[in-house]
């Protein structure tokens, strides 16, 4: 039985080994992904992002528990977790420490936690995070929690990958101008003010709500004739990200966040946005792959001498980087149009 069959049959060691193959981009990993792709598209991908130290790992731990032992009597869901931590820019090594906060989950065979190093990618995820989530999806995990690298303002790749993005803030992380800057707060489907037992929680909450009001004036709670309450936005006015308090080390507020995740999933499905996001995601994945493959193929066919010669010109500042790129591209184009000339 091959790795793919073992994974589909629920073998956890096979899954772990397959994830390694995919992460290292081996031929085996690529082939397995090709075969597993038909089994994907079922999982709800939930991203958890936010600054370092806001409590993302603890929150992921508690969320996984909430989905494994739902208080509202719903069926427990199998949960996979992908936790990304940064690689060292110098050694390429990494210290992946997210499991330290996830010890509550050990011993549950229906929870699968995998740590990933970012391996030089800058968007808050690793290059292979999407591919690993596909493998977990095919392996039958209907809920995949993806914890990003501690993200600052512009590490927003997670919004392209996940169906639901949770941005975790904590008190004392900056004023309301931080909150209306472009970037990470824009991608939030759910905003969590974690460490809500700390002073300053009201200010953080107020800044976030004010930011949302600027973006969704119709959702203002004092507005007239709003059919639905704040927590249940009417479909025509879209989704207004709820701002939820939590103390994730004690599990406070976690059930509400889990409920918001479910609600957001239902909202995406009923509004048709699920398919739309799926379409955008696959489109950008295809584009990225095309760019990557084209560049690699083109580079492999490029005359090494010409490359070095052009690069020397660039190094001596005789030509600019753009001129260098254009020279090389022109050369390659003329060679493809006159393939006999080179011989």
């Amino acid at each position: 039985m091959g790795l793919v069959e073992q994974v589909l049959a629920g073998d956890r060691l096979a899954l772990a080994r397959l994830l390694t193959q995919i992460e290292n981009d081996t031929p085996e990993g690529r082939e397995a992904l090709d075969r597993l792709f038909a089994f994907t598209g079922r999982a709800h991908l939930v991203g958890v992002t936010g600054s370092p130290g806001t409590g993302k790992s603890s929150l992921v731990n508690q969320l996984a528990r909430a989905f494994r032992q739902p208080e509202d009597g719903s069926d427990p869901v199998r949960v996979a977790i992908l936790a990304v931590d940064p690689s060292s820019p110098f050694s390429g090594g990494a210290l992946l420490g997210d499991r330290v906060r996830m010890r509550d989950l050990s011993g549950d065979p229906d929870v699968f936690i995998r740590s990933m190093a970012s391996r030089g990618a800058l968007g808050g995820l690793a290059r292979a995070t999407a591919a690993l989530s596909q493998a977990l999806d095919a392996a039958g995990y209907p809920l995949i929690l993806i914890e990003t690298v501690g993200a600052g303002q512009s590490e927003v790749d997670i919004a392209r990958l996940a169906h639901t993005t949770i941005v975790v803030e904590s008190p004392g992380m900056g004023d309301d101008i931080q909150a209306i800057k472009a970037g990470i707060l824009e991608i939030a489907d759910i905003l969590v003010v974690n460490k809500a037992d700390r002073p300053g929680v009201e200010n953080t909450e107020r800044a976030l709500r004010a930011m949302l009001d600027l973006g969704h004036p119709a959702a203002h709670k004092h507005g007239p004739s709003l059919g639905a309450g704040e927590a249940e936005p009417a479909a025509e006015q879209g989704w207004v990200p709820p701002v939820l308090r939590a103390v994730s080390t004690r599990g406070e507020g976690v059930a509400e966040i889990a409920a918001a995740i479910r609600r957001h999933g239902e909202y995406l499905r009923s509004s048709g946005l699920w398919q739309q996001r799926e379409k955008l995601r696959l489109e950008s994945e295809l584009d990225a792959l095309l760019r990557d493959l084209l560049a690699r193929r083109w580079r492999a066919g490029l005359d090494e001498d010409l490359y070095r010669q052009t690069f020397d010109g660039l190094l001596q500042r005789q030509i600019s980087p753009l001129q260098a790129a254009e020279t090389l591209l022109r050369q390659a184009e003329s060679e493809t149009s006159n393939p006999t000339r080179a011989s």
Partner: protein, 136 residues
């Protein structure tokens, strides 16, 4: 396989709370270009084996200063073997009396490091062990 792709689990089984050594080793392996999964204090052998499986690590480093190594290490080795990970390189560090080392090696532990070991040596041994696994 390159050094970048070596994945190592550093774990502290048992009840002692002295994790300085584990952290020093984790840091040294990181600086050597490895991906180190650090699990923190007071792990049971079951938790360690489970993490080793999910993370598909090449090596597991156990730091033990409590004196309980002769009950913790055999259990970890047994669990790893039972789940099909007998090829994982296990090394032990901490306070391990000289007389226990042969028994640990007998269990399949590749190396035992006491106080004063240089981190460079651990890095070298580990690369050697991962790149040249013993004949089965």
């Amino acid at each position: 396989m390159t050094e970048q792709n070596i994945r190592v689990l550093i774990a502290k089984p048992g009840l002692d709370g002295h994790d300085r050594g584990a952290k020093v080793i984790a840091r040294a392996l990181r600086d050597a270009g490895m991906e180190v999964i650090y699990t923190g204090l007071r792990q049971t052998p079951e938790m360690i084996a489970e993490a080793a499986l999910q993370e598909d690590v090449d090596a597991v480093g156990l730091s033990i200063l409590s004196g309980a190594h002769m009950s913790l290490v055999p259990r970890v080795m047994e669990l790893l073997r039972a789940q099909g990970q007998e090829d994982v390189c296990v090394f032990v560090g901490g306070i391990i009396p000289e007389r226990d080392i042969p028994a640990l090696k007998e269990l399949g532990v590749r190396a035992v490091y006491g106080p004063g070991t240089s981190t460079a040596q651990v890095v070298e041994d580990l690369k050697q062990a991962v790149f040249c696994p013993p004949a089965a």
